[in-house]
Amino acid sequence: MNEPIDVVRMLDITKSFPGVVALEDVEFTLRKGEIHALVGENGAGKSTLIKVLTGVEQPDHGTIQLEGQVVQVRSPQHSQELGISTVYQEVNLCTNISVAENIMLGREPRRFGSIHWPKMNEQARNAINRLSIDVDVTQPLGNYSVAIQQMVAITRALEILSAKVLILDEPTSSLDIHETNLLFDVMRKLKNESIGIIFITHFLDQVYQIADRITVLRNGKLVGTYEASSLSRVELVAKMLGRSLTELDAIARVKSHEKDTEEKQQLVEAKGLGLAGSLEPVDLELYANDVLGVAGLLGSGRTEMAGLVFGIDAPDSGSLVVEGEKVSKFSPLESLKRGIALCPEDRKAEGIVGDLTVRENIILALQARYGWLKFLSPQRQNEIADRYIELLGIVTPSAEQLVRNLSGGNQQKVILARWLATNPKVLILDEPTRGVDVGAKTEIQKLVMELAEEGKSCVFISSELEEVVRVSDRVAVLRDRKKVAEYAGDVDDKTLIQAMAGEA
């Protein structure tokens, strides 16, 4: 057997942005004809590494070698010329023009200055046949499913100057099982043609289905590169989360309350609640004086579940009962009126209203409940704002500061304040401590536990197992858009990780 040849070698790659080190001395190699999975949780540095390789960003430090030669990738255009092609999660093609055009446009064959359609169609057909998929290249791209569109995107990527490296960034997020298998067949075919493929995904099952080697990043650093066949699933998850198996053997107890679940008042009951494409039907119970932790990797359906309970999306299966009443109308306002609150995962897009002041952000939901006409008086607003600024320790020069000028942690606190001001019975927090400094993290965790003591029901969704375990009375584990386990009382990290990884 031949020695494996490295087609890409990235050494000592370091990249920082203002305030954050995205990559630190990362080493990554890709062999010819291998499928190499790149995994890591949010903020691990996967996308930055790829951006460096494709010339979107320039590394502060480090070298990139392509087939043994040191190269400077100046721009995405340049990376394509070097033979590195990328296909993104959102299909970056145009659905109104034909498949052939999507593949060939930019290098279309011409005759006397105008497009030579028969020739272009023929070339496109040949390119597509390379992937063995059956498509009429004269049809508009929009006539085909997203999976096929993705194949076309791959075809285009490959057609450009004999690609040597193909980067697939979360290609299976919108595909079903059948379509994913189709994609994998294509990938195997390309592998046989000695193309190196970097496969970025958060679906661990798929990693084991298709990858030869796995590289794990965590917090901008390289954890390691492993042969897929010699790394167990549990070990993989542990590495992604920053644990070693020996550490896990030390048991961390979930703190136990005096009351048991049976004695607590049930506030919310979800039976078979689900939405096609987002969440398989789940059963869930929320109790007063209780913190339910939700653990699961990215893409496991945690945010979708929170969204269904809070009413952002209406489920297409199952039922939701709040304090004995069945919910028929799903909307944030309805939930607000029932006393359910949600601190969303994406602070920037779904949480803060950046150009409004701290005060206005804090009273926003409360005002929504009061309605259009009963406007909170300036005194009342200031009172509420000041109260929560002090209570949560929000660092801001004044309540009139624009929220977008606050740090991430303080923005999170503002959103928390917004919902606390509505005095909810159920408080769902989706990744409340992400991007928050250590001091604020602990404050928020303590607050959640205090709120539960006072009688609220809290749902604490987080990728950081130690805080989930520390804060929760019960823990639910989600994997691949399903709820796979729920634990109460004593549970340790190892058990949780096994549930998340898929090994009971």
Binding site: I312, P332, L342, E350, G351, I352, L364, A365, L373, F375
Partner: protein
């Protein structure tokens, strides 16, 4: 914080730059043509003693634009735009004319009708009908945008095209002259020496201010314009917020139509309110409200409208031929676009501190 002087507050508020622009034009007038500011008192047989002069004209003739600017501000603040305001003006004017005039259809206008000076419908009803028509137009636009989900520019374009046809339909294709003297009062009358239209503008401004600053509506509008998703997640029905904004804009357009038709004593489906939409958008942009939506100031938009109108009157009174006005206006638009573009905004933000939320002085 409490020590900020009045001037500092003013400089930070949204009305500062449009005010500066207006003052600059006035200064220009003072230098080049001192007669511009001449005010006199005149005795009018119909309306009694009242003020008279260029400045009065500016406010009187600029009233319709100021009204439309008020309505347009709310729409733009939600992140949209309303191109149909001109058509709404025409429709409202047409309704007024038709309800007054007994000569419907192809009935000949006899001398008797011409001199009757009477109306078919009582005046309050006419006013109400016009306002209702405008509000319905606004609701139509609002529904298309918020419920059907059509882009604001496209949705209001429909009424912009069809609206004039509707106005023509109402007046049966004719330019209808209005022969009812009490109707003229809106555009030509005077109270305490000042034109009625100023009072109407002040009244609408007050109503709008109460609506947006004394209820939660203003906050909701700004919130929707800045980040509609976060607003929705906070439990606010952003669809209805948008609907309200468009309906109010239609309402303002209707009042503007009333004043305009009263002023020229006629309703002309083709020409009433022509090009008002651009002037209104320009006034709002000049008032510092971003076209992408968010923070707004009604008062600043009104001043923006004043700037445009004073500019127009200045150009006329300078003796510049009327034919050059259009070209000069184009240059004004260009300047505003350049000054308020992303680039200049960043520059200005760096020169001055970032704006706080001083609503009290703004409006």
């Amino acid at each position: 914080m409490k020590q900020t002087s009045f001037f500092k507050k003013l400089r930070r508020s949204q009305i500062f730059w449009p005010l500066v622009a207006w003052v600059l034009i006035l200064i220009f007038d003072a230098i080049v043509e001192p007669g511009f500011f001449r005010l006199g008192i005149i005795e009018d047989p119909a309306y009694g003693k009242h003020l008279y002069g260029n400045l009065v004209d500016v406010f009187n003739n600029g009233a319709p634009l100021m009204l439309v600017a008020i309505g347009m501000t709310l729409v733009i603040a939600t992140g949209g735009v309303d191109l149909s305001v001109g058509a709404v003006i025409a429709i409202s004017a047409a309704m007024g004319a038709v309800l007054i005039n007994p000569a419907l259809g192809n009935e000949l206008i006899t001398n008797e009708i011409l001199t009757r000076n009477a109306t078919n419908t009582p005046l309050p009803l006419i006013v109400l009908a016009g306002l209702a028509a405008g509000t319905v137009c606004g609701l139509w636009n609002g529904l298309l945008v918020s419920r059907v989900g059509i882009q604001p520019m496209v949705a209001t374009l429909i009424l912009m095209v069809a609206g004039r046809g509707i106005a023509q339909l109402i007046t049966n294709g004719q330019i209808m002259t209005i022969y009812y003297t009490p109707y003229f009062w809106f555009g030509n009358g005077y109270i305490l020496g000042l034109p009625v239209s100023i009072y109407i503008v002040a009244g609408v401004l007050l109503l709008a201010w109460l609506l947006v600053r004394k209820t939660a509506i203003g906050l909701f509008i700004e919130s929707v314009g800045i980040n509609a998703k976060s607003t929705y997640y906070s439990g606010i029905n952003e669809k209805n917020v948008k609907l309200l904004a468009y309906a109010f804009c239609g309402f303002c357009g209707a009042i503007a139509g009333l004043i305009l038709s009263s002023y020229v004593h006629s309703a002309d489906g083709n020409n009433n309110g022509l090009n008002y939409e651009l002037d209104a958008i320009l006034a709002v942009v000049m008032g510092g409200t971003l076209m992408t939506g968010g923070r707004f100031s009604l008062f600043a938009s009104v001043i923006g409208a004043l700037v445009i109108w004073t500019f127009t009157v200045t150009v006329y009174s300078l003796g510049v031929p009327a034919n050059a006005l259009l070209a000069a206006k184009a240059v004004l638009v260009l300047l505003v676009i350049l000054l308020y573009s992303d680039y200049s905004r960043r520059l200005m933000n760096r020169l001055f501190e970032r704006r706080g939320s001083q609503h009290d002085t703004a409006n």
